[in-house]
């Protein structure tokens, strides 16, 4: 269970780790020239060397805007898309090297909840069928025992057991999302990837589902990778936060430190851009110029430099990509001027 020591993983040397990701890479090739035989052009470097570790029972919030690679990271960890490089270990087991049969067995220990409550449930299956399927696949239970488990799961996520007979289109968005959570829990996982689980829900329902997730984590001792773009939501649930930009992590720190004293200009800009429901909170909004760049042609040097508002931005930023390094105890940032944050 030896995860090679690197600046990134030295951050928490004493805590045990349930999930460790090291230099994860996923590229999506564009079209190939020469009728499909040449080298691919326009490669999308969706995940470009991402590393982090999550201790058991904790939550890592992975935040970023569209195109930053956070969803792809979550799926790559579960091998729903096959990574092109790096290492992923769950409880010491090398996930990426597992042959299909062992992988299938390992899937019991790590699951995923998706963003879209409308697309993540098969419209032609009843809730009961959806929750029974994992029990069948992994030979966990059958018959009356399965029925009992299904009823227990529904109750645990706050749904009426009578809903087992319903089809997804008969349920509301919040209810469907709860079914998605129940489905993930049916195999009794230790680790859950939550891919924007509340982004598609109304405000009042968001709060309910977030509360449920916190409760479940406490009750079952779950470890979460919480992927989101909403920094306020992440603040509520995460112990650690990692900020992604163009496929790389630009800052990673315990939640308290990140929100109180961000070290990377992107994090600072992101935090200042979030609208706060308080008309009297006068904040200096940093409004970034330019668009969120495309991961096909990332800028040279620091990926954030074209939009970076840091007053000390210079030639070095344009040419030398900054390494993710420890700037304060437990806090890492990839910026040449991380010691002088905005």
């Amino acid at each position: 269970m030896h995860v090679p020591a690197s600046p990134a993983s030295r951050a928490s040397p004493t805590l045990p780790t349930l999930l460790a990701v090291h230099d994860l890479v996923k590229h999506f090739p564009g079209e190939r020239a020469w009728l499909g035989l040449g080298r691919p052009r326009n490669v999308v470097r969706a995940v470009d060397g991402v590393s982090f570790a999550i201790p058991p029972g904790q939550t890592l919030g992975l935040v970023g805007e569209s195109g930053c690679g956070k969803s792809t990271t979550g799926r790559a960890i579960l091998r729903l898309v096959e990574p092109d490089g790096g290492r992923v270990t769950l409880d010491g087991i090398d996930v990426l090297m597992l042959p299909p049969r062992e992988l299938r067995a390992l899937r019991r220990r790590m699951q995923i909840v998706f963003q879209d409550p409308y697309g993540s449930l098969n419209p032609r299956m009843t809730i009961r069928q959806m929750l029974a399927e994992p029990l069948v696949i992994h030979h966990i239970a059958a018959g009356a025992d399965a029925e009992r488990r299904i009823a227990a799961l529904l109750e645990e996520v706050g749904l009426n057991t009578g809903m087992a007979r319903s089809y997804p289109h008969e349920l509301s968005g919040g209810q469907r999302q709860r079914v998605g959570i129940a489905r993930a829990l049916s195999v009794e996982p230790e680790f859950l990837v939550l891919d924007e689980p509340v982004s598609a829900l109304d405000v009042s329902v968001q709060a309910q589902v977030l509360n449920l997730l916190v409760e479940l984590q406490e009750r079952r001792g779950l470890t979460y990778l919480f992927i989101a773009h909403d920094l306020a939501v992440v603040k509520h649930i995460a112990d650690q936060v990692a900020v992604m930009y163009l496929g790389k992590i630009v800052e990673r720190a315990p939640a308290g430190a990140l929100y109180a004293a961000p070290r990377h200009p992107y994090t600072t800009s992101l935090l200042s851009a979030v609208p706060v429901p308080d008309p009297q909170a006068q904040r200096d909004r940093i409004v970034l110029a330019g668009d969120v760049p495309s991961p096909v042609h990332p800028p040279a040097g620091c990926p954030f430099h074209p939009r970076c508002p840091h007053p000390k931005k210079n030639e070095r930023c344009r040419t030398e990509p900054p390494a993710l390094r420890e700037v304060a105890p437990g806090q890492l940032a990839a910026c040449h001027f991380a010691e002088e944050p905005l």
Binding site: R75, R107, I112, R124, G180
Partner: protein, 308 residues
Amino acid sequence: MNIWNWVALSGAVVLALIVVGAVRRRAGASASGRRFFRHPTAAPGLFVLAFFVMVALAAPLVAPFRPYEQIDIDHLQNHAPSTRYILGTDPLSRDVWSRLAHGARISLGIGALAMFVAVTIGAAVGATAGYFRRWVDTALMRLVDVGLAMPRIFALLVVVALWDRIAVPVLVLVIGLTGWFATSRLVRAEVLSLREREYVAAARALGARPSRVIVRHVLPNAAAPIIVSAALGIGNVMLLEAGLSFLGMGVPSPAPSWGNMIADGWSKMAVAPWSATFPGLAISLVVMALNAVGDALRDALDPRKEAV
């Protein structure tokens, strides 16, 4: 036609009406069912199909004569329609109506079975190509390209010519095997989009094998284009069979099929049109009904229409 035949025939009509009524009532409960019946030709089409199916099933009851029976070769050749022989007799003095009723079994049967073969193979190939992609997809789709480029009727003629008298099951198989290509393209397109759905990813994340994912998650949601192409395809197959039989290469005489009935009556078209016209009319009616139903099904099953 004796009185019992008339009773049986009216029974078939009534049953067909009852079936359509029952379907309509059940369909009223769902949005897709209502969309189906919004087409003015859907209900009549359904009735025509139900009627002919009833006739085919009850052929011995509605037909006064046996289909092979040459009633009176000297005096009853090409007899015009009358109360005894309601659709007349053919050049071999066989009762046209009886042959039509029995021929329904063969023509409809071949249509349905051949389409079933085609749809099954097409769905399997399309789903495999769409789900696994890469070289599997490329290989299978090149095969489909060849199949689509092939002129079907000539290929069939060549194959059928290998037999002197082709057995009906073999004919079904041959027509089916040459007709799955379009369906496979349709299914592949549908599967390509469905495999990106999150519930498919969820099933994979749960540890489902590809076979389970395809069978339980992808195909049921791809059913719509399969059903529509099946409904429309049966009509095509029936026309194909009729064409082959007309050319003398299909269902062998004396077994009646609507196609070979046209062939038999063709020579007397000018003086005794009934032997060729009535089976031709039957084919036209059924194919039109299938097209109407297929069209209405396409609208009914269109998932985009589910959006409010």
